[in-house]
Symmetry: C2
DNA sequence: CGACGATTGTTGCGTATACAAATTTCGTGA
DNA sequence: TCACGAAATTTGTATACGCAACAATCGTCG
């Protein structure tokens, strides 16, 4: 039964969030480098992928899945519409602004797959199998909380 | 020996980086909320903590530890100097701009500890012990690469 | 000494991120 | 119907992040 006695000097190495952020930067840069030739970054790629899965996507729904603030997604979608990868579709409910992939967006997804797979292999090698299993578990737990 | 046959619809749920980013957003928000009463966000808290550990810190060194681009740190340090938490110290080598905590910065660190600990407990509960172990392992592997 | 390459940071620019506040539209109850 | 609260999204503002280009300083080799 030892009391940890946190000191400012120990926080740097023990902070869970700090270490997740380091991980995030390293891995994100890896994918961003892989996607750069296509003029696309991972954050937009994720939106594209989720939209591909949903068919027609409502912003709130995508934000729920990606745990993104709606204001963040709003501007990301703007850029992707400008790039010709997404298009807004009309909806009965005037408050809703659903969107979907354009043909160009779907073609881009297809073209990107090899680069994405390469980054995926690299990331898996870098992190190790155990880490990947734990990532699955962590995401599961996070998603469970929302449904509760 | 099955070929995975990646399709655009499956990428959303399998992308390692995408899931790490989700994790990062959830956990970062948790700590940012805890630190908000102190006018401080986690990203600055990490710089503060690393600086506390180093005593006198050189930018390149902090960037190496946090895997941050030097341009990002440069501007974060500016803000923290403006806030009175860091001070730049002179150096023989005119290229170097090392910095350290001010008294005010160290006092802030001390005051923050309870809130940080609370977030830390919450994050640990949310992620589970196994995930924390994987985080240790992942960071270790990442740091090993640099030394190689 | 003096030019040149290497080291160390900073600036310009565009995207990503979230909170707070504003906006638009919807549903409902008087 | 119309007024008001709820729901869905956008705007305003500030920080975080990285790449490319620039700036400043240092070492060294001739």
């Amino acid at each position: 039964m030892k009391k940890p006695a946190t000191t400012v000097e120990t926080i740097a190495t023990t902070c869970i969030a700090g270490r997740i952020r380091v991980l995030n930067r390293v891995i994100t840069n890896l994918y961003d480098n892989a996607l750069r030739p296509f003029g696309m970054k991972l954050s937009q790629g994720n939106v594209l992928a989720v939209t591909a899965k949903l068919g027609v996507a409502r912003p709130a729904q995508v934000c729920e899945i990606l745990k993104l603030d709606t204001s963040t997604l709003s501007r990301t979608v703007d850029r992707m519409v400008d790039n010709g990868w997404l298009e807004v579709v009309p909806d009965d409910d005037g408050r809703s602004h659903p969107f979907r992939l354009t043909d160009q967006g779907r073609q881009l997804m297809e073209r990107i797959i090899p680069a994405w797979e390469k980054a995926q292999v690299e990331a898996a090698r870098l992190l190790g199998e155990d880490t990947l299993r734990m990532l699955d578990a962590a995401i599961l737990r996070i998603n469970m909380l929302d449904e509760h």
